[in-house]
């Protein structure tokens, strides 16, 4: 089931209405049933996977507590089963195709068999979430839960099941286990998030997504057209993914839950590290805590740090999809981080103020703007690698010359760029407002604010009615 459908609206209203009439245990059983209905709505066989993952992780965690001497075996059981599922459904064809190509290059005409199956949506999200539970139990940071329903709700909680944000067991499980009470204040802020999310998805992401799709379908893009398309994709992916997160967080609040934030105005980032503190925060912190830190983090010198960063980002790239362009995207971002650090180290000490760090209060506004603009350009280069799945096309795109475009292409690019910008004005306005005032966390209660919020939500609703795209696109992160 998808958020931007009337099916979901009716489903959610029914579940919420029934939910608050039940005691806590009943609420959890309802949440589990609703989450499984939500997930199996189109392909019921997906439920076999999530149920299997849940049972294995539940048993593994229980086993770790019952037989501490064999903790590692149980952890391996969890990791192998989760990565096994992920590898089979998501990476098998990628692996087989590459093996086939290697064999072909060696003169062996053997074609490994390919799978003809649909990739279960959200498998990357819930397997990672499930593994966070067993890893935390293994580390002794969390006790294994006895109640299978609670663990199953934690893994399958429908608002964030298919596209995150990935929640830690230590954060979400206690909420699943606690008694929840309906809070009108939470519901109000949740409603705001839902409205904002729908506006971002239906009006911004889906409209600019059409522009990006058109440009990336071109056989012979010119420099300006290509970058107009990349700009459109940059807006699309942020609006799309953050919309999903907002709707997930908003609906969760109506059910008495609080999910972590996943985005903090990433296009206001002033450096690569700043960007990764703002973009897909839940995934970044997952990789930080479960890959980067166990590898040694930055504790063993610069060279090891660089290796760890590259390994983490390569894996993060591969997590996004079974394609070399995602690996390249991860590598690119890893190199950006290394280059930034190397640049800071190579500067003379006298010229190495904290000025290049975000948050330095004495930076002139102009420098800040230039840093944001520069970082936005770097992010866009990354999005080109992310969006373009054909490696030959990436090479071609990076070789395009700005001067070689026809006047039609220049005009068309300006048109598409401006149209994208117009659709994305609400995004930029919000980010700039927050950047200037830092007021995004203040939830002041008061009637004037409620009236303003009502007007804003009403405007968003009107915009959705009038400007929603005629072509409804799936959430991008569903494919991961």
């Amino acid at each position: 089931m998808i958020f931007h459908s009337l099916d979901f609206v009716v489903f959610f209203l029914l579940v919420t209405a029934l939910y608050w009439r039940l005691p806590q245990r009943g609420q959890n059983i309802l949440l589990l049933a609703a989450s499984y209905f939500f997930y199996g709505y189109v392909h019921p066989w997906f439920l076999i996977l999530i149920a299997t993952s849940t049972v294995i992780d539940y048993c593994a965690a229980r086993g770790m507590e019952a037989w501490p001497a064999h903790r590692m075996r149980f952890l391996l059981m969890s990791i192998v089963s989760n990565f096994g599922m992920l590898g089979f459904f998501k990476y098998f064809n990628f692996f087989a195709e590459n093996v086939g190509q290697v064999l072909a290059a060696a003169g062996l005409a053997i074609s490994p068999p390919l799978l003809r199956i649909v990739l279960p949506v959200g498998i990357s999200f819930y397997t990672f979430q499930a593994m966070s539970y067993t890893i935390d139990v293994y580390r002794g940071e969390l006790r294994a839960r006895r109640n299978l329903v609670d663990v199953a709700v934690f893994i399958s909680f429908f608002p964030h099941l298919v596209a995150g944000p990935i929640q830690r067991a230590s954060y979400l499980l206690p909420q699943v286990e606690s008694v929840r009470r309906f809070s009108p204040e939470k519901a109000r802020t949740g409603f705001l998030l839902i409205c904002w999310g729908f506006l971002k998805k239906l009006v911004i992401a889906d409209n600019v997504g059409i522009i990006a799709n058109k440009v990336f379908a071109l056989e012979d893009p010119s420099f300006p057209l290509l970058w107009a398309g990349v700009f459109a994709f940059a807006i699309q992916i942020y609006a799309d993914f953050s919309a999903y997160t907002d709707i997930a967080r908003g609906t969760s609040r109506w059910l008495g839950f609080e999910l972590t934030e996943n985005f903090d105005h990433p296009y206001m980032a002033r450096s690569p590290s700043d960007f990764w503190r703002r973009w897909n925060i839940s995934l970044s912190t997952w990789f930080r805590d479960y890959v980067y830190v166990p590898l040694g983090g930055s504790r063993a010198g610069e060279a090891v740090w660089a290796r760890n960063i590259l390994a983490t980002f390569l894996l993060s790239g591969l997590w996004h999809g079974a394609s070399w362009n995602y690996v390249l995207w991860g590598l690119y971002h890893g190199l950006l981080l290394i280059a930034t650090r190397a640049h800071a180290m190579l500067r003379p000490a006298s010229r190495r103020p904290a000025a290049w760090l975000p948050g330095a209060s004495y930076l002139s506004p102009l420098v800040k703007v230039l840093q944001i603009a520069g970082m936005f350009v770097l992010i866009n280069i990354g999005w080109l690698l992310f969006r373009e799945t054909d490696l030959h096309a990436i090479v071609r795109d990076l070789r395009l010359s700005p001067g070689a475009a026809s006047s039609l292409d220049r005009q068309a690019a300006a048109y598409l760029f401006l149209l994208t910008f117009l659709y994305s004005v609400p995004l930029w306005a919000q980010s700039i407002w927050v950047e200037l005032t830092g007021r995004h966390d203040r939830l002041t209660i008061g009637w004037p604010r409620v009236v303003l919020q009502g007007a804003a939500c009403g405007l968003a609703f009107a915009a959705i009615l009038v400007l929603r795209s005629r072509t409804s696109l799936d959430f991008i992160y569903f494919q991961f």
Partner: protein, 350 residues
Amino acid sequence: MPGDRGRLRPSLQLAALVVLTLLAPAGLRLAGAWRAQPADAASSYLPAVQGSRVRAPFDPTPIGDLARLNPGYVVIGDSMAGSRIDPLVLAQLTGRPIAPMMHAASGSAWWYLVLKNLVIPARIHPRAVLIFFRDTNLTNVTFRLDDGWMLDTAAAEREDELNAVILSAMEGPWYRVDRTIDAMYGADTARRWIEPALTAEVGRTIVPSRRRRGAFMTSMNARFGLDHLRAMDAADLQAAEDREADFGRFVNRSALPLMLRDARAAGLTLCFVRVQRRPVGGRPPYQSPALRRYIRDLRRYIEANGGIFRDDTGDLALTLDMYEDGDHLKGSEHRVYTEILYERLPSIFR
């Protein structure tokens, strides 16, 4: 009681927020009341999917051309037909002129309009009108409906039957709710001018001259035309999802019954050719059980309504090496395919 008031206030604020959200879009009705339509915009012939807009005029030229040519066969379709049939070879084989009426990236709505508004009015009597399609194209009337400019030149001022079919095809379980909300807020009316106004404003900013702007928009559309698309995108590998492969559910929400009815009334024989998609591993492409059932039902329906059905799928003569990209055949294979089809359909070609 202060305690009760304290508890009541957040609930009232939540209710106020929801009410305001639902009331604010009523402004769209007010805005629509004073906003006149753009002078050159007209109601679309497909109001189910389009608001008022400037459309390209109907082009009657092909009617005269067809009448003059008096073809033995008319070929209608998209790039599936264009990348298979060589009209000259077919003309040589059959000894009759061929009229190709193909448009890349077209769908069944365009095929229907071509048949109804161009072929039938030409009052010609070809031995058959061949319509090429992939899998479920014939019962998916909304497939490739976005490119309104392509339909324009084949569409009359009103296309009520096609519009009704599209409406019914779009009618999901919540369709009426959707329409009611739109009607309640006057969203349709507002959409007709706000959306074009937005894109027109961008166009005006980029190309201030009105005359040059029209030419610019046409050139930009052409820039994103099929000949500039990547092979795989052009091929538009449409996954034949099982949900679409439900013939009984979709046939009366498609243009297929209209095509068969109009052809029968005009004394034309329609021959629907289902092309074989790209073979995999030296074998014909996989077909799900649902798709097999769909094709069986489609064949029965077409044959029961006086049409001819030809399925290329599984024809061992159509091998992988004939394919260029996606489901398209290589240019060098057009002759071969045409000869194969000629052999396979003796009832209409000989």
